[in-house]
């Protein structure tokens, strides 16, 4: 097992190097603008441009630039933004904090909702609650996050809402303390979780329906176990495997920056926002750092998922 984890981590490093290199070439071959010019202000002199170029290390050959970046990244030093000259590490960590808050809360919301809805739907297949839930799920999946976010703000935000219940957009940045931050995240949590709840509820429903047909469920019933135990101990254990797979990919992507729509609507300074702004401004240094972050979290959550498999299913063995 330990050997397996070490091997996977080494592969993660290789993956990260490859992805960083690809990102690097993309932004060099298809530049969104010369970062030096973006920084130099109006009508700069050639000397000024050269000076900035040198200070950013952009006069070095590409392989040295890439090498320097990777070497520094390995020491958790991502350099400075080409635009604001701010040090990127604290910027990234702050953004990561906000995004983690958002994603972890949303995951809890959507897993709880999916567990309840999916289980009831599976056990009462074809009943009215099942049909209402599955119809509602389709609506939730179809609703775009930015639209749902705006509707949520219009209805419940404390500044512009019809019912001034929850803090509105931008409240996270100004929130102090854990409780305040959690309170500020309530709307974003539910908006981000809506579509995921629906997807996971459907996934759990079909997976539970399938596992309820297994022979070992018949055995469990024949043993005289209570139906509750049959469902929650025997059927659910097998039914959650596909959910774990999906969760690994989704959490990795979301923490890495895919929560960008929710972060934009609610003005949360997370990784999604950071990369979005960086792309708009052609801030190659920041872009590279966020790409590296995304790839890192996807790789790590894939590893965690594979380890979870071994925990759930004793037949899975890693050498």
């Amino acid at each position: 097992m330990a050997r397996y984890i070490i091997r996977r981590l080494l592969w993660t490093v290789v993956t990260l190097v490859v992805i960083t290199a690809v990102a690097y070439f993309l932004f060099r071959v298809l530049p969104s603008g010369d970062p030096v010019r973006a920084r130099a202000g109006k009508a700069p002199t050639q000397e000024r441009l050269d000076a900035i170029r040198e200070s950013l290390g952009l006069d070095n050959p590409w392989y040295q630039q890439l090498g320097d970046f990777l070497w520094n990244a390995a020491h958790f030093d991502f350099g400075r933004s080409y635009i604001s000259d701010a040090e990127l590490r604290p910027l990234l960590l702050d953004a990561l904090g906000a995004t983690t808050w958002l994603v972890v809360g949303a995951v809890i919301v959507w897993l709880s909702a999916a567990a309840v809805v999916g289980t009831i739907s599976a056990l009462r297949r074809g009943s009215l609650p099942d049909r209402v839930a599955m119809g509602g799920a389709l609506v939730a999946i179809s609703a775009p996050v930015y639209w749902l976010g705006l509707v949520a703000l219009y209805l419940f935000a404390s500044d512009i809402g019809q019912f001034k219940v929850f803090p509105g957009a931008g409240s996270y940045a100004s929130a102090d303390g854990v409780l305040d931050r959690a309170w500020a995240m309530v709307l974003p949590w539910f908006v981000l979780a809506a579509a995921f709840s629906a997807v996971y509820a459907r996934l759990l429903r079909s997976s539970l329906l399938e596992s309820m047909q297994e022979d070992y469920i018949r055995t469990a019933r024949a043993k005289g176990l209570s139906e509750r135990r049959v469902i929650f101990r025997h059927a659910s254990r097998s039914a959650i495997t596909p959910l774990v797979t999906a969760l690994g990919v989704d959490v990795g992507l979301l923490i890495g920056g895919n929560a960008i729509l929710t972060e934009s609507v609610f003005n949360i300074p997370g990784l999604g926002r950071l990369s979005y702004d960086a792309i708009q401004r052609g801030d190659v240094a920041t872009i590279q750092a966020t790409v590296l972050f995304l790839a890192f979290f996807v790789c790590i959550s894939a590893l965690v998922v594979d380890l979870l498999y071994a925990l759930i299913d004793p037949r899975v063995k890693y050498e």
């Binding site: 070992y216 018949r218 055995t219 043993k223 139906e227 254990r237 004793p314 037949r315």
Partner: protein, 385 residues
């Protein structure tokens, strides 16, 4: 409030205590049988209509005895047994009749009452031991769970019981293997685990649904011997469901042959194999190899297919496939009646006894159904056409 169960007849209690550890003779006592199935009917609702999987079967099982239920796929043998355990209950299932277990009707019991019987007084083992065991849990935990569902014991006590049972069914090193997962066992060992699990609560009745079908022949033999030994040691009655006449020949005391949801012949093992009386039973016996016949005698499969179980006519279900139907069948469903001179040998066929004897004589000597029919003077389809 009076509990209807209070009226459990006194003689039955008396005979229950009379069940000697030897077990073998206990079944032959007079009095109420352990299990009595009366006119059990099971239908499943489907888009095409009601599928009458079991069309009215009756049988009894005495304590400590083995009843073999034989039939091909879809004959209703598994459905009828699952129904005893309440495992076919659903809003779309129509169940009628009576299933008396020690005088209590299992069909009218609430789910909770029935749950106390399941795995405790009646246990069940299934065809495929790999898929019947939960792949994610240790076998010990799966046995412990069953023990603790019915007994107020600690986990430690239940585990001791699990180890004891695993030893009893012949799992080597049970103290260590109790913590193994199902995939770490061979097929035969897994079925032993299933048997250990089923017998952990000392059930009075074990329903074995094709327990050896998924196993190699040599392992089949071991499992059957194991069940035989455990029955002698524990006095458990067994309902053995199988499509394999060889299996029931070895293990059963009595045999019921099922076809299209009904019992077509019922007799003791000896009577059934020496004087089978139903054409379907003849077909089954003629389709398996026999060592006492010359090697060039061909096996004869039963022609045709079983009828659809939707809208089954009130008529002999086997007539379509019966090579001897011409000239002696009467319309309508024949009753399951005792044969002439052998009231315990029941058969659902109206064929006259002499003709039956003539036909079986030919078949037993290795003749084909055509030869037998000709000898009995029955016109053959070819001749008719």
């Amino acid at each position: 409030m009076t509990d209807p169960q209070d009226h459990t007849p006194a003689p039955e209690r008396a005979t229950a205590t009379g069940t000697s550890p030897a077990g073998g003779d206990a079944g032959r006592r007079a009095g109420a049988p352990l299990l009595e199935v009366r006119d059990l009917r099971v239908g499943f609702g489907s888009e095409d209509g009601l599928v009458q999987a079991v069309g009215g079967i009756s049988y009894t099982v005495e304590a400590g005895r083995t009843l073999g239920i034989v039939g091909e796929s879809g004959s209703g043998k598994s459905v009828s047994s699952m129904t005893l355990m309440g495992l076919t209950r659903s809003p779309s299932t129509k169940i009628e009749g009576e299933v008396l277990f020690e005088g209590r009707d299992l069909l009218t019991m609430s789910t909770d009452e029935l749950r106390k019987v399941r795995g405790n007084e009646i246990a069940m083992i299934f065809q495929d031991p790999l898929s019947s065991l939960h792949p994610f849990y240790r076998i010990g935990d799966q046995i412990i769970e069953g023990v603790r569902a019915h007994n107020d014991v600690t986990k430690k006590q239940a585990k001791a019981r699990a180890v004891e049972m695993l030893g009893l069914v012949g799992i080597p090193d049970p103290g260590r293997r109790v913590d193994a997962y199902p995939h770490e066992f061979s097929g035969g060992m897994r079925q032993r685990v299933m048997i250990a699990m089923a017998l952990a609560n000392d059930p009075k009745l074990l329903i074995a649904d094709e327990p050896t079908t998924a196993l190699d022949v040599t392992v089949q033999k071991q499992i059957l011997e194991l069940m035989d030994r455990l029955q002698r040691e524990l006095g458990t009655a067994i309902v053995m469901i199988t499509h394999d006449l060889g299996v029931v020949a070895e293990t059963a005391d009595d045999i019921a042959v099922m076809y299209a949801g009904r019992i077509v012949e019922r007799a003791s093992v000896h009577d059934l194999f020496s004087h089978p009386r139903h054409p379907y039973t003849w077909g089954l016996l003629r389709s398996i190899p026999r060592l006492d016949l010359p090697r060039d005698v061909e096996l004869v499969p039963v022609d045709g297919r079983p009828p659809s179980l939707i809208g089954l006519p009130d008529d002999c279900s086997f007539r379509e496939r019966c090579p001897y139907a011409a000239g002696c069948c009467r319309p309508g469903m024949p009753d399951l009646l005792g044969a002439d001179g052998a009231p315990d040998h029941q058969v659902r066929c109206t064929m006259p006894p002499e003709r039956r004897a003539t036909i079986w004589q030919v078949l037993a000597d290795g003749g084909t159904p055509q030869e037998a029919a000709t000898k009995a003077g029955i016109p053959q389809p070819e001749e008719v056409a």
